[in-house]
Symmetry: C2
Subunit: 893 residues, 2 copies
C-alpha cells in the first residue's frame, strides 16, 4: 500500500483525529475529530503537511500517489453529498483552505465556491431556484480565484484591487451603492468583465476545467506558506518553517439558498460572564459573513436569551435544527471539556457544523467557567488553573468603568497602570494633597512626574502624564500604589501656568472632572461610574487551588502599611522590596533629608539623620506590624541624593528660605551633585559607603522597630538589603555597618530579633561574581529592572525614543522591561543563582523587579529555582496563578 | 636526626640558598646565597617560616628542637665572630629581623643591638673605646625592644611615643635640640628613664638576660606576621596568610665605631642612565641611616664619579676595602645577572655585605641595561624582554622636561596624558585654533572639555582641566592624540569671563606662559625646556626582540591620517578603532551635521548627509592611505546626536543665526534630544536603526574611499564596525544597510575591495549572546570602556565622585577603567570570545577600549585568545612589549 497523504472526513467517520495537528493542521484535525464524534460536517479531505514539504522540495510537483488520493477524496465527497464535481446539472462545489499546525490567522489563502464555470453555474441556479445566488457565487469565485491563484493583485500600493475597480465602475454606471443592490444580470456582467481583465493582465483564459481549478487552488494554498507575510508571522511567533501547511478540501454548504437556510455563531457559555447558557446569534437565508457585517440584525439562538418579544429565536423558527444544534454543542463541550466557539450553517433545513474552537472569554468568564466546570466534574482543579491567563486577572483586581456607561474619550495614552478612576483635575502635587485633604477626589495631571510628586500621587485617584512610557516614574509608582495611570498621552498639551490641559477634542481647566481608564489608556471627559472588584467566590476558589500547587512564594513590593495590608488581601506572603526613600519625601522629613545633603561634614549629617530616625522607625514599625509573621525585605537608601533637591527656581528659592541659606547655596549644591548618567552614578550602596552614617541610621530604625514589636509579641523577620552591589567588598563594607548597629540596638533593647543581611543582584558584575558575594550575602534579590538596563545598556527613562523603532522593525519582540529577557538577562540571573548557591547552598533567592509580576517571567523564576517573586500588590494574584501554572507545565512536560 | 628548623649562614657557607624563599623568606634566602658565594656577610641564622606556622598553631610555644637549633645557631655566630652572647667583656650583639617569602616592606618588626644590658654595654664601650657609642646603642636597643616586644606604644592616636616624650623632656632640660647633641651621660640617663617608664607601664622590669631578650624578640617578630597592618597588606597583595614569616638572627656590625669604619650604598650600574659604571655613596664612621638622613654629605665610592676634587672617594680612602667591594659587586651582578642595589658596612677596616637586591631604575636605564647585558652575554633576549616594565616605556615616548631645569610647580592635578609641554594660556577652543593658526603655542585651559572643543584640543600643546578624572573627555581625547594633559586640577579656579586662572600660589591670565607635566600632573609657571624621545638604538633593539616573540597583533586607535602615521612609527599593525564622529566637528561639517539633526524627515536628512559625504570620503581616503597594506576598523556613528548641538545660550544663538532659524527652535531640539542617561540612550547602532540613511552615507564614504585607493593600487582592508550592538537583530539590520551600499558602490566604481562587517562587543548582553551575534558578525572588537561601565554600573563621567572612597577603603584595588577587571568584566570577555567562536571558529577578535594599552590587560587579552589589541598611538610600544612578556610568562610557567 502506498503512503497516506490524504485524510478523508465526513459522514460520521474520519481518517484523522484531533491529536494529529502536526500532520493535518489545526483545522483539519478538528474537522476530523468532529466527524469521528458523529457530528455533521461538510465532507472533505485534508492533504497533509508532508505534501507541503514535498511541494517545496520538488518545485511544485506532486507525487502520483498524492494525485490518486486526491481523486479518491473527491469521490468520497461526491458520494456523501450525492453530487458530482464539474457536473452541469448537479455540481459539487468545494472550498480549498489552508490549515497549519499552529494558528496563523489570515496569513494564508482560501478559495471558496470552487467548481463553478459557465455550465455548472446553471446547475446551481437550477438546484437553488435562485439566479442571483448562482451568479453572485460565480463572481465571488472568479474574483477570489483570480486574486489567490492567478496573482491578480494591485500593481502598486496606490492602486486598488483590479476587481473592485470593475465593481465600482459597474455600480456607478447602474447608479447603485451597495453590492447587494446588483441584479443577477449585473453580476453575470461582472463575471464576464472579470474574466476579460484576467485575460488582459495574465494573457491566459480563466480555467473552466474544475480539476484544473482544484489543483491550481491547492498549489496556491501550499505556496502561500512561503508568502512574505506568512514568513514574517512565523519568524515573530517562532513557528518552524519546515512544519508546512495542510490543505483542506471540503464540500461547500450554503446558508443563503432560501428561507429554510440559516447561518450562525454561538458560544457554549456566555463569554462575557461565564454563565452556563447557550449563547449565540443567527440569520435566516444568509452567509457567515453577513452575521459579522452587521447589515441585518442577527437574532438570538435560544428563546431564553431573547431581549424582547419582537425577536425570533432559532429554537422557535427551526425547532428540529435547533434541537440537533443543542445536542451537538453539549457533545462538543463535553468532548473538548472547554467552552466552545462554534459556527454552523443550515442548508435547506439540514445542519452542518463548520467549525468548533475554544472560545475567547473575559477574565470574569474564564474564572467562572473554569471553577464551574470543576464543579460539574468536567475538568480537574489543575486543568482549571491552566484555563485562566494570569495576565487577564488584572481586569478583575481593579475597579472598572461600568460597561453600560457612556464614555466620551477625548484622548488616548499608554495604559500604564490598570484600573478606572474619576476626579477633578489638579496640576501640582501640592494641590493634590491640599484638595484631597478637603475630601476632593483628584486626578493629578503632569507633563511628567518626579519623586517630589510622590505625596500628591499617593492621594490622587489617578495620574495622567503627557510624557513618559510604561516604565516612566509615573507608571512605575502608580502600579506600585495600585493607582490607575495613563502615561505618555502625547495628544495633550499641558500648561502649568494657565492651569489648562488641551486635547484635540476639548480643553480642560483645573477643577474639571475627568476619568481615566488605566487598563485601556483612555482619557474621558466628565465622571464615569465604576464597579468594584470581587475577590471571593470563584476567584477565591481558583486562587486557593493555585496556592496548593505552586512552589514559588509570592511577596509584594510595598512601602507603606496601607500597601502592605492591600497586598496581604491579595495573598502576599511577605514584602520583597520596601523602598525606604519613598518615605523621605513626606512632610518635615524632606527638610531633614536636605539638611543632611547640605552638610559637608559627618557631624552635620549625623545631626540631620537623628531627626529622620524617629520617622523611619515609625514607618518600619507600621510596615512590620502590617506584615506580622511574614518576612519584610527593607532596602537601604538607593537613589542619588540630587533626587531629593528641587530643580526649578521656585522650589529652590522656597528651600533656601526654609533652610535659611541663599538660593546660590542651593544651586551650588544641585550643581555639585549633578551627574551625567545618574543611573550609573553615586547611588545605592555607593552612598552608604561614602556616608556610612546613613546606613547606620537606617539599620538602627529597622532594628529599633523590630525589637519594639518583638517585645509586644509580634513576630517580625526583617531582611536588610543592600542595593547596587557589584562586588563582595562593597557588601562586606555595608554589612559590617548594619551588623554592628543591629547588635548594638539589640543589646540596648535587651531582645534578640532574627534578621538577615543580603543584597540586590542588579548589576551585571554582581551576577558574574555571585559566588564571592554569597560569602557575605544571606539572601539575594534580583533587581531585574536595573539588571535589564545595564545588560541591554538601555536607560528606561530614555529608551522609549528608540524602542518603538525596535518593535516596528521586529528587532525586539517583547519589551524587556515588562517581560524578562531570558536569552540575555536571564543568563545572568541563572548564573547568579547557580554561583551564589555554589557558595551557600541554601541561599534564599527572590526577584523584586517589575518582572516579578509578569507571568512569563514568573515561570522563568520558578524554573531557575528562585524561592520567591515579589511584585506590586495588585499583581500578587497574577504571580500566584502564574507560579502554579509553571508547576503544572513542568509536571505535564 | 630531628627536622631542620634553623638554617645557618656566614663565613663562606650556608645551609640554605636563594631558591628557598618560601622556607627562609626573601632576606634569609639572599643572605644564604651571598654566604655561599663566599661574600662576607655578618654570620647568622634563619628560623624557617614553618616555625611561624607552628608558633600560631601552638599558642606561641616552640618545640624543643627549635630551641636546640637556635642555641646551635648562636654558637655558630659566636664561633665566627669570636665573641660571646651576654659576655661582659667581649659581648656578641645581634639583630632580629623578619623576612617573609614576599616583600612586605615596613610591615613587620625588627630589633637591633640585642644582647645589651648594664654589663655588656661596658664591654662594648671597652672594645670600641667610645662611651657615647655604647650608651647610644643601649638606649636605642631599650627603646626598640620596648616598642616591639613590650608593647610600649602610644596609648591613643593623639599621644606621642612614650620614649620620644622622655627624650624631648631631657633635651629641653639640657637645652639641646638634636639627638646627636646628647652626651654619653645623658644617654645613660635616658636608658634609666626608659626602663622606669617600662616598669611603670608594664609592671615588669626590662629583661637583662640576653637569652630572654632573644626569645622575646623572636616571638615578637613571628607575632608581627598577624598585626593589623600586615594583614591588610597581605589582603591587598593577595599574599596567603599561611605562608608565615621567617626570622633572621644575625651578628651586628657597626660602621660607626671610628674612622676605620664606614657604611654605604651602591648600584652596580647607573640607575638613571643605565651606563655601566659602579655608582654609589658612603660615609666614614656612620650608620646606614646616616647616609639616608642627609645630615652629612655622602662621598662617591669610586674616583671616576667624583664631581669635584674636594670629594674623597672610598677607592682613595680605603683602597683595600674598595678593591674587595669591587670584586663583590661584579660577582653579585654576574651571579644575579641583573643590576644590583647593595648595602655594606666597614667595621674596623673589615667589609661586611648587608644586602643585595635587584636595583630600581628609570625606563631609560632599564632598556639600556637589558640590551647591553644581552651584548655582554649575561642574559638572553627573552630575559631582556622581561626586564623592562611595559608601563615604564611611557616615559620614553613623550617629550619630557629637562630634568636639570628649574620648575615652579603652582598646582597639581591628575597625570591624565603623559608628556611635557609649554604654551600660552587660552580659555576657549576657538581661541586655541585662532592663536595656533598664527603660530602660537597654546595650552587649552578649561573647567572641563566637551566634544565641541575637539578642534582646539587638537592644536594645543597641552590641555589642563579643573574637573574630570583619568577617563574624562579631556583625558581620553588627549591620550588618543598623544597630547599632554593634566586633568581634574581642583586647586584651580578658572573664570571664563575674566579669562583668569587662579591657583593657591599665583594668578594667570590669558596669554601667560605655563607648562604641564602630563606624566606627573604638575602645572608649572612659565616655560620649561623639553627633551625629545629616542626611539631607535637600544629601544629599537628591544622592541624588535619583543616583536619576534609576541603573538598578539597590536593596532592603534586613530581618527586622523596624522595619528595613523605616528602610530605606524610606534609599530602599529593597523587601526583597531577609527571613530568617525571626531571628524564631524571640524569646520563646515558641523553645520551639515546640525542640518541633519534639525530635519524631521528622511529627505531632509539625506540632503544634509550628502553634504557630509565628500568630507567623510576624504577623511577615510587619507586614513586608509596612511595605513596602506594594513586593516582599518571604522566604527559607524556612536555618540548621541545631542552631542553635536551647542548647550549654552551664546553658541545656540550663533547656531540659530547660521542656520536661519530661531533660538527657540534650537532650544526645542536640544530639549527634545535631552536624555537622563545618555550613556544608555539613543546612540550607537540605535541611531543607525532609527536613521539608516546615516549608516548608508558612512558605508558609502568608506567604500568610495577604499575603491578609489584600490584603483590607485593601494591595498586597503576596511572593516566596518557597528557599535553598541546588544542583539543579533540589531547587527543584522545595520549589516544589511552596509552590505547593500557596499555592493552598490563596488558596482558603480567597477572594482571589488575586501571588506568585512563586524561589531563592537561593549554591552553585557552582546557578550552573553555572542554565539547568536557571530552568525552576523565577521569580527568582534571588545569595547571594554563601555563594557566596564555597564558591567559595573559605573558612569565614567560620574564615578570619580565615589571611586576615591572605594580606593581609600580598599573596595577597589585597581581603577577598572585603566586595568581590565578580569574577575567580572573579564568573564564577559571570555564568554564572548568562546561563544562567538563556537559559531564562527575563525572569528577575528580584538579589543579597542583603553585597556588595549594597559600591560596587565594586554596579558589577559593574549591569554583569552584575542587576535589583536588596539590602543592609542603612544601606547603601541607598551602593548607590543606586554604582549611579548605574556608569551614568555606562559612559556616559563
Amino acid at each position: 500500500m502506498s503512503k497516506k497523504y490524504v485524510y478523508k472526513f465526513g459522514a460520521g467517520h474520519a481518517d484523522g483525529s484531533s491529536d494529529m495537528k502536526l500532520l493535518l493542521g489545526g483545522k483539519g484535525a478538528n474537522l476530523a475529530e468532529m466527524s469521528n464524534l458523529g457530528i455533521p460536517v461538510p465532507p472533505g479531505f485534508t492533504i497533509s503537511t508532508e505534501v507541503c514539504t514535498d511541494f517545496f522540495a520538488n518545485n511544485g510537483q506532486y507525487r502520483n500517489e498524492v494525485k490518486d488520493q486526491v481523486n479518491e477524496g473527491m469521490a468520497h465527497i461526491e458520494a456523501i453529498m450525492k453530487k458530482k464535481f464539474g457536473d452541469a446539472t448537479n455540481p459539487l462545489l468545494v472550498s480549498v483552505r489552508s490549515g497549519a499546525p499552529a494558528s496563523m490567522p489570515g496569513m494564508m489563502d482560501t478559495v471558496l465556491n470552487l467548481g463553478l464555470n459557465d455550465q455548472t453555474v446553471l446547475g446551481i441556479i437550477e438546484q437553488s431556484g435562485n439566479e442571483r445566488f448562482g451568479w453572485d457565487s460565480y463572481r465571488r469565485f472568479v474574483q477570489m480565484y483570480g486574486d489567490v491563484v492567478l496573482g491578480m493583485k494591485p500593481e502598486s500600493k496606490e492602486e486598488e484591487d483590479p476587481f473592485e475597480i470593475i465593481i465600482d465602475r459597474v455600480k456607478k454606471e447602474r447608479g447603485v451603492k451597495l453590492d447587494t443592490e446588483l441584479t443577477a444580470d449585473e453580476l453575470k456582467t461582472l463575471v464576464e468583465l472579470f474574466k476579460k481583465e484576467i485575460k488582459r493582465r495574465t494573457g491566459k483564459d480563466f480555467p473552466t476545467d474544475p480539476w484544473e481549478q482544484l489543483w491550481g487552488a491547492i498549489s496556491a494554498v501550499f505556496g502561500s506558506w512561503n508568502n512574505p507575510r506568512a514568513i514574517t508571522y512565523r519568524n515573530l511567533n517562532k513557528i518552524p518553517p519546515d512544519w508546512g501547511t495542510a490543505v483542506n478540501v471540503q464540500s461547500m454548504v450554503f446558508g443563503n439558498m432560501g428561507d429554510d437556510c440559516a447561518t450562525g455563531v454561538a458560544f457554549t457559555r456566555d463569554p462575557a460572564t461565564g454563565k452556563k447558557v447557550f449563547y449565540g446569534e443567527y440569520l435566516v437565508n444568509a452567509q457567515g459573513e453577513d452575521v459579522v457585517a452587521g447589515i441585518r440584525t442577527p437574532q438570538p439562538i435560544n428563546k431564553n436569551t431573547k431581549q424582547d418579544s419582537s425577536q425570533v429565536s432559532l429554537e422557535e423558527l427551526m425547532p428540529q435544527a435547533y434541537a440537533q444544534l443543542e445536542d451537538i454543542y453539549k457533545k462538543l463541550e463535553a468532548h473538548y471539556k472547554d467552552m466552545q466557539d462554534i459556527e454552523f450553517t443550515i442548508q435547506e433545513g439540514r445542519l452542518w457544523m463548520l467549525q468548533t474552537r475554544t472560545g475567547k472569554r473575559t477574565a470574569a468568564a474564564a474564572v467562572r467557567i473554569a471553577v464551574e466546570m470543576v464543579g460539574e466534574g468536567l475538568i480537574d482543579q489543575e486543568t482549571a488553573i491552566m484555563r485562566v491567563e494570569p495576565e487577564q486577572l488584572d481586569q478583575l483586581l481593579h475597579p472598572m468603568f461600568d460597561p453600560e456607561a457612556k464614555k466620551d474619550v477625548v484622548a488616548r495614552g499608554l495604559p500604564a497602570s490598570p484600573g478606572a478612576a474619576s476626579g477633578r483635575i489638579v496640576f501640582h502635587a501640592d494641590d493634590a494633597e491640599e484638595w484631597a485633604a478637603k475630601g476632593e477626589k483628584v486626578i493629578l495631571v503632569r507633563i511628567e512626574t518626579s519623586p517630589e510628586d510622590i505625596g500628591g500621587m499617593a492621594v490622587a485617584q489617578g495620574i495622567l502624564t503627557q510624557r513618559g512610557g510604561m516604565t516612566s516614574h509615573a507608571a512605575v509608582v502608580a502600579r506600585g500604589m495600585g493607582i490607575c495611570c495613563v502615561a505618555g498621552c502625547g495628544e495633550l498639551e499641558i500648561n502649568y501656568k494657565s492651569k489648562t490641559m488641551k486635547s484635540p477634542k476639548a480643553t480642560f481647566k483645573e477643577g474639571d472632572w475627568i476619568s481615566l481608564d488605566g487598563s485601556k489608556g483612555d482619557v474621558i471627559s466628565g465622571k464615569v461610574p465604576t464597579i468594584d472588584p470581587e475577590l471571593s467566590g470563584n476567584f477565591g476558589k481558583l486562587m486557593a487551588w493555585a496556592d496548593e500547587v505552586r512552589k514559588l512564594n509570592v511577596r509584594t513590593n510595598a512601602d507603606t502599611p496601607h500597601d502592605a495590608e492591600v497586598a496581604r488581601k491579595f495573598g502576599a506572603e511577605g514584602i520583597g522590596l520596601c523602598r525606604t526613600e519613598h518615605m523621605f519625601f513626606e512632610g518635615d522629613r524632606i527638610k531633614a533629608v536636605r539638611e543632611m545633603i547640605l552638610s559637608d561634614n559627618e557631624e552635620g549629617r549625623r545631626k540631620a539623620l537623628e531627626k529622620l530616625l524617629p520617622y523611619q522607625r515609625d514607618d518600619f514599625y507600621g510596615i512590620f506590624k502590617a506584615m506580622r509573621d511574614l518576612p519584610v525585605t527593607v532596602r537601604t537608601l538607593d537613589p542619588p541624593l540630587h533626587e531629593f533637591l528641587p530643580h526649578d527656581d521656585e522650589n529652590q528659592q522656597e528651600m533656601a528660605t526654609e533652610m535659611g541659606i541663599t538660593l546660590e547655596d542651593v544651586k551650588a549644591k544641585v550643581e555639585a551633585l549633578h551627574e551625567f548618567n545618574p543611573m550609573l552614578g553615586h547611588r545605592g550602596c555607593r552612598l552608604g559607603i561614602t556616608y556610612p552614617e546613613i546606613t547606620e541610621m537606617q539599620a538602627r530604625a529597622i532594628m529599633e522597630a523590630a525589637c519594639a514589636l518583638s517585645k509586644e509579641g509580634v513576630k517580625v523577620f526583617p531582611e536588610i538589603m543592600i542595593p547596587l552591589v557589584g562586588s563582595k567588598a562593597e557588601l562586606a563594607n555595608q554589612k559590617q555597618v548594619v551588623v554592628k548597629t543591629a547588635e548594638k540596638v539589640q543589646e540596648e533593647m535587651g531582645i534578640q530579633v532574627d534578621y538577615m543581611v543580603g543584597t540586590m543582584i542588579e548589576i551585571p558584575r554582581a551576577a558574574l561574581t555571585a559566588n564571592e558575594i554569597a560569602e557575605e550575602a544571606e539572601f539575594f534579590s534580583f533587581g531585574t529592572n536595573d539588571l535589564t538596563q545595564m545588560t541591554f545598556g538601555f536607560s528606561r527613562d530614555d529608551a522609549g525614543k528608540f524602542l518603538k523603532d525596535y518593535e516596528q522593525k521586529g528587532i525586539l519582540k517583547e519589551d524587556p522591561f515588562q517581560t524578562l529577557d531570558q536569552n540575555g538577562v536571564g543568563q545572568l540571573v541563572e548564573m547568579g543563582i547557580q554561583k551564589g548557591r555554589s557558595t551557600r547552598p541554601k541561599l534564599k533567592v527572590g526577584i523584586c523587579g517589575e518582572h516579578g509580576g509578569d507571568p512569563k517571567s514568573v515561570g522563568f523564576c520558578h524554573r531557575v529555582g528562585m524561592n520567591y517573586v515579589s511584585c506590586s500588590p495588585f499583581r500578587v494574584p497574577i504571580a500566584r496563578l502564574a507560579a502554579a501554572q509553571e508547576v503544572l507545565r513542568e509536571k505535564n512536560k
